[in-house]
């Protein structure tokens, strides 16, 4: 958790000692800016984002704030925007933090997540690799977790295996996510690619069967229920009215639309299912990358 120092600067007390029991100690001096920053910290911690934003905006107008305090304000602004999922704005604030600031590492991790949420995976990974974990074993472990998450997002299982081998401790702050990543890695490895051609052929034989093959277990019955009612009148009209009758042509065209549409849909569903499956795991990976930020910083 973060602290607000006497100077009004916010630092993270867990950075140096992740294994120690964390406490949310707010040290408040008489300096009004420091007091205000401590109050804003309390507001954000209690998820009173509207109040925090209002107070921060008011504080930013204060001309007497010190350089370190400016970093704290930017950090809180970034933090606030991050929790409100305004990642563009969050990134802008985190980028304002001085390179020498104690808040730099925390802001870099938040920035990584902002970039990831904004779809800039390459930029996020680049920034992650820049984070210095020198003499900070806790940050090094957190960095490994993030790098392993990125390896999974890229489906680079060899990189994932080599990264997880680098863990030196079983840090409780990231233990749940480590277990989760192992499970995702396993799920991704066992997923079997299906053939769109086979799916299409199966649906040509029995409407909907291709979707079952693709992995949508409940869909075939729906496809069958839609296609069959069009097949029956088309067959009847073919027999009774003849293949050249306008009635058969109309009903046959309608049936054909659903029948061939279903075959095409089944072939496409192979890709869709794969995308859904990967999408769900990617979503979980990103969530699992967000969670430790709240715990660690």
């Amino acid at each position: 958790m973060s602290q607000v120092l006497d100077s009004g600067m916010v630092i993270n007390d867990s950075m140096g000692s992740l294994d120690s029991v964390k406490s949310e100690v707010i040290t408040v001096e008489q300096d009004p800016t420091s007091k205000e920053l401590a109050f804003i910290h309390y507001l954000v911690s209690n998820e009173l984002y509207g109040d925090a934003q209002y107070s921060l905006n008011a504080l930013e107008q204060d001309s007497s704030i010190l350089e370190g305090q400016k970093d704290s304000i930017e950090y809180f602004q970034g933090w606030l925007s991050y929790y409100q999922r305004d990642f563009d704005n969050s990134l802008n604030h985190f980028n304002q933090i001085d390179k020498q600031s104690e808040l730099l590492v925390a802001s870099q991790f938040f920035s990584v997540m902002c970039l990831l949420e904004l779809g800039d995976n390459v930029g996020a990974e680049g920034l992650l690799n820049e984070i210095s974990s020198k003499d900070r074993p806790d940050i090094a472990e957190l960095k490994i977790l993030y790098q392993s998450g990125f390896a999974l997002l890229k489906r680079d299982y060899a990189a994932y295996d080599s990264l997880v081998a680098l863990y030196k401790t079983n840090n409780y702050l990231i233990a749940a996510e480590r277990t989760g990543f192992d499970q995702y890695a396993n799920d991704l490895r066992v997923y079997k690619d299906k053939s769109p051609l086979v799916a299409g052929l199966l649906s040509a034989l029995v409407p909907g069967l291709g979707k079952y093959y693709a992995g949508y277990k409940g869909h075939p019955f729906g496809a069958l229920a839609i296609t069959l009612p069009f097949a029956a009148p088309a067959i009847e009209l073919a027999i009774l009215a003849g293949l050249t009758s306008p009635l058969f042509i109309a009903s046959g065209a309608l049936f054909g639309l659903f029948y061939f549409g279903n075959i095409w849909g089944s072939a496409l569903s192979v890709k869709t299912h794969k995308s859904d499956y990967y999408g769900e795991i990617d979503y979980n990976i990103v969530i699992d990358l967000h969670v430790p930020l709240r715990r660690v910083f």
Binding site: F39, Y42, L43, L48, G50, D51, Y54, S55, P229, F230, A232, P233, I235, E236, L237, L240, A241, L247, S251
Partner: protein, 278 residues
């Protein structure tokens, strides 16, 4: 009630500033100042007072949901009766404005269960209004009559009010509750029946008209042109659409009817209760 009395000397300055902002109509700023008071409070009483005052700001900003959530943070341990009453009443009030009537009733129930009788009277109006909204009209009626018995007004006035209340709360006038689940089931048995039960006969007639039209077209195709499967498909297709759509619509219509009838009835009761100055 002057809540500032509950503060320690050191915090009075902050409280005064927050109150001034509130009085000036700067509710957003006042809300933050009261939150600051809650943050700096050294006792649960101070914190509670600040939270209650913050809820006043949020209600003034018409942010009823936030006002309710804000008040639900209160820890009732070691608070005196007047503060407990103020906190529970404000919670019920913001819950009522946020249309969370079960929470409002729950807070009122707790006032009646755990606080001395002097506080009951102060909460009667809100409790009755909230019970009305929860369709508990009999309880609201009993509550108003019981409260009236404790009031020190001449007997003939009491009799007149009782007469008005009995007339307004006549059981025969209570809006009939249409169970959405029952409406759904009825429409499952016979399309249109659920709509009829929900109180929308024109909707039922519309369903029957289209069912009959589908049946006629299907029968015509089957028996005149001798395309039996095609005729059956036409009727089945139209019937299925009307059937599944009608089942869902019946439940929706029952809920709509319940809301409209209760709204009309409760609005008339609200006028009466406020007029009687409970």
């Amino acid at each position: 009630m002057c809540l500032l009395e509950g503060y320690s000397k050191d915090l009075n300055e902050y409280a005064g500033r927050a109150d001034s902002l509130f009085n000036e109509g700067a509710y957003q700023e006042a809300s933050i100042e009261f939150e600051r008071l809650a943050y700096q409070a050294t006792s649960n009483t101070e914190r509670t007072i600040a939270i209650v005052r913050k809820s006043d700001c949020l209600v003034a900003l018409s942010n009823f949901h936030s006002a309710k959530s804000n008040l639900l943070r209160i820890n009732y341990f070691s608070l005196n009766d007047s503060i407990v009453f103020e906190a529970r009443f404000k919670t019920a009030y913001s819950a009522y404005l946020d249309e969370d009537f079960s929470l409002a009733n729950n807070q009122m129930f707790l006032i009646r269960q755990y606080l001395p009788e002097i506080y009951h009277r102060k909460s009667t109006t809100l409790y009755a209004l909230s019970l009305n909204e929860d369709r508990s009209w009999t309880e609201a009626h009993e509550l108003l009559i019981a409260d009236l018995a404790k009031r020190s007004i001449p007997q003939h006035e009491k009799d007149s009010i009782i007469q008005e209340l009995n007339s307004a709360y006549n059981e025969k006038d209570f809006p009939k509750y249409r169970d959405p689940e029952k409406a759904k089931n009825l429409s499952s048995v016979l399309p249109g029946l659920g709509q009829l039960y929900a109180g929308y006969p024109q909707d039922a007639a519309f369903t029957w008209f289209f069912l009959a039209a589908g049946l006629a077209t299907g029968a015509y195709t089957a028996f005149v042109f001798r395309y039996f499967v095609t005729g059956l498909s036409i009727w089945g297709g139209i019937g299925e659409r009307l059937y599944s759509g009608g089942v869902r619509r019946s439940a929706f219509l029952a809920e709509k009817k319940n809301y409209n009838t209760a709204r009309r009835y409760n609005d008339s009761l609200k006028m009466l209760i406020l007029q009687l100055n409970y």
